[in-house]
Symmetry: C2
């Protein structure tokens, strides 16, 4: 190992960077393994000597795939904070409250840098933790919190730093994307695919955090803050999931040239800033529509850079550990960037646009009695709400019984679609629906 | 503008970062425009005050889309080096020798950081310039040199820094990708599409630098160095372009479920490190096969992160200026990383694998006389070179005249394919070909 080479290049020289790791699940052990494998190479390449000083987990006796004997074992995570030798605490405990929050607060308060993969905690407490980090002049880094295998925090914070960001469109939840991909490939229904995913360990039980959009929303509010220079604001976000997406909708979407994706959207429009998580129809020609299975992707649109997309594995020990190590290396080589890419006082409190105000095309599917006059009734309701129809699809004839009817609207305010939808649902001839999906062109 | 906020957060404080820009074409003017637009926001966000001190171009009277009156004008780029106020020279003159090289050498030698978009120069002189930068303790940054709208240098250097990189697969030349995309969509031939691209200004005249693979190769040798910790080595690279790709090959590729792409490949295998630029067949299910038109993409495979792909616009004023500004902001906020991500003495001299040694499947297309015994002759040659056939496609019958024949081989060493190909070409019954494309599975 050529220490000489490193010391010649003295602007890159740094001292040993000592870390304490709390949480030794698959990600924590992955970080330990990566550091053990790459320590010498990283020292040679960057001059940064990354040293694990101490580790913490609930159960010291649990068998783990890495050798931890060289590190001090601490039964209490807060002991990591008291250790004067530790420069940086890596929090991989998880949970938006409790030990994780206590540890991060104590570490920042003690003037230690913090690295975390904890999106839920940052979504809820990121603003307060950011203020604490700033007051103590330390960094709070979280590349692993959003789409582990994709360096999206770095891209927004540094790669596209000079751009005025127009929009961020993400597939941020691998479980949902997997379920939607299987539904499309097999024609099976949501509940059926979910149960299989749970059996295989791809989805949690209960699955709410993933399939109802909350996990994606936690991540999106961090991306919003970085993209637009606003406070992370989890409370002001329209969140919906994929429970209402049916096999029928997926079949129609495919036939019409679309894919149904759970998109996390942060967008700047003439009407204002918007953040929302929703299942919507994306033209199959758009690259993000082609991201399948457990893969994540983020499309970023900047005024100078144009469209750029990053994709990769969003979860799992390897990708997440890789993101944690990227943060460790940045700090070890002396990088210091504000928590949300600006001093906290510069972060504006956004006035988010009500998603019902947004103008878009919509897919509307319903089942109606196959009898004369029904279409005239529906058309009249749409006309009264100033909604015009781009195309209409009616499959099969079944006089006197129900048949599916699909409408694609021209651009219209979401509020009007909802109002019209209530009225259409109340028609006697309507036996199911309308089911609405926004079209994200 | 809240200077107060910035100064409170004192670890992020930096002094003014003063730059001189040489070259005021569309990219140079784009950089000036971005800085003018974003200067206040960047100061507020990062604490870095980016100031343009002086500019240089050949013609001071040429109309330009930005106001340059506030900056000192220098007729000689070397004057930028003599100006003690300038921290960093941004070289956007272009050309692998001449004024660009003189400027970069002089600037580094004078202890100034250098930012450049000049891939040809770095491919040829990167190693020597890296040593000079190291000796003078300054940085030489070049995010804009490879796929402007894609932060790929940053991804390799920082985002995936803790990974052992297994491979980098790039679509790095927008002109070639555009031509191949149009050929596929329209069925037209290379020469025809090239002429149209030249008329539209999408391709240069002469087009050699792009269509013969040299531009992609310049970029690839920088990515190889960053990925594998080796010296940039433009001389040891197999380079071929897209001139020999015919409309017929594209039709067959599509039918067989592939896309033909000019791939820039840097890969680690059991046999050794390999770098090559070549048109090859990529399964249409692989995400990089779906990157069309002028878009660029880079797929990076790391041991922990798995597969990650970044895509976006590779060229043009906006994306390139965005990448230059990203480098400026990194330096202005105090980041200092080695030129090729390691001290120069740590960079190994790679022993590159001869591409003929690599093992792969191959597509082989030829025209042969439609008469008994021809296939037996070809099969015998293949058998003699130990090449086995996975599938065979013969289209149409035309007794006594030529018909197209397409073979897909099982995995075999490239050398054997070449040897067999010579013998098959020499058969009397062979009227055209064989045309060979490697299959990049």
């Amino acid at each position: 190992l050529s220490r000489k080479a490193v010391s010649r290049y003295n602007i890159f020289m740094t001292n040993a960077f000592k870390i304490g790791i709390a949480g030794l699940g698959t990600v924590g052990c992955g970080v330990v393994e990566m550091i053990q494998l790459q320590k010498s190479a990283l020292l040679a390449k960057t001059g940064a000597s990354i040293e694990i000083t101490a580790v913490n987990a609930r159960d010291p006796h649990k068998p783990r795939p890495v050798d931890l004997t060289e590190y001090e074992w601490m039964d209490d995570p807060l002991k990591l904070v008291q250790n004067k030798d530790i420069d940086c605490v890596v929090e991989l405990i998880g949970g938006e409250e409790g030990p994780a929050r206590d540890l991060i607060e104590a570490a920042l308060d003690a003037g230690k840098h913090v690295i975390t993969a904890n999106k839920a905690l940052l979504a809820h407490h990121g603003y307060d933790l950011g203020k604490l980090a700033e007051a103590r002049n330390v960094c709070l880094y979280y590349e692993a919190a959003v789409a582990g295998g994709i360096p999206v925090i770095k891209a927004l914070r540094e790669g596209f730093a000079g751009n005025d960001i127009q929009g961020v469109y993400g597939i941020l939840n691998g479980t949902c994307n997997y379920i939607l991909s299987v539904m499309k490939d097999t024609g099976r229904d949501f509940e059926d695919v979910l149960q299989e995913a749970q059996a295989k360990g791809y989805a949690e039980t209960p699955p709410d955090l993933d399939v109802d959009g909350y996990d994606a929303a936690h991540k999106l509010c961090l991306l919003s803050a970085l993209a637009f220079g606003v406070r992370p604001d989890y409370k002001n976000m329209a969140i919906s999931g994929i429970r209402d997406v049916s096999a029928t909708d997926i079949t129609f979407a495919t036939e019409l040239g679309y894919r149904i994706k759970l998109l996390s959207i942060a967008r700047k429009s003439e009407q204002g800033l918007l953040q929302s998580v929703e299942a919507c129809m994306v033209p199959e020609t758009r690259p993000i529509a082609r991201i399948n299975d457990v893969f994540n992707a983020v499309e970023i649109i900047g005024d100078f850079v144009g469209e750029s997309m990053l994709s990769g594995r969003g979860a799992g020990a390897g990708p997440t550990a890789s993101a944690v190590l990227s943060d460790i290396i940045d700090l070890a080589t002396g990088q210091r960037r504000p928590v949300f890419n600006a001093p906290m006082s510069e972060l504006k409190e956004a006035e988010w646009l009500d998603p019902d105000e947004q103008i878009s095309r919509f897919y509307v599917r319903l089942s109606v009695l196959d009898r004369p006059g029904v279409l005239a009734d529906i058309s009249a309701i749409l006309r009264d709400h100033d909604i015009s129809i781009e195309s209409l699809l009616q499959r099969g004839r079944n006089p006197g019984a129900s048949v599916p009817l699909v409408l694609i609207t021209h651009e219209v305010q979401q509020r009007r679609i909802k109002e019209a939808s209530h009225e259409i649902a109340a028609l006697k001839a309507t036996s199911d629906g309308p089911h609405i999906l926004r079209i994200e062109d």
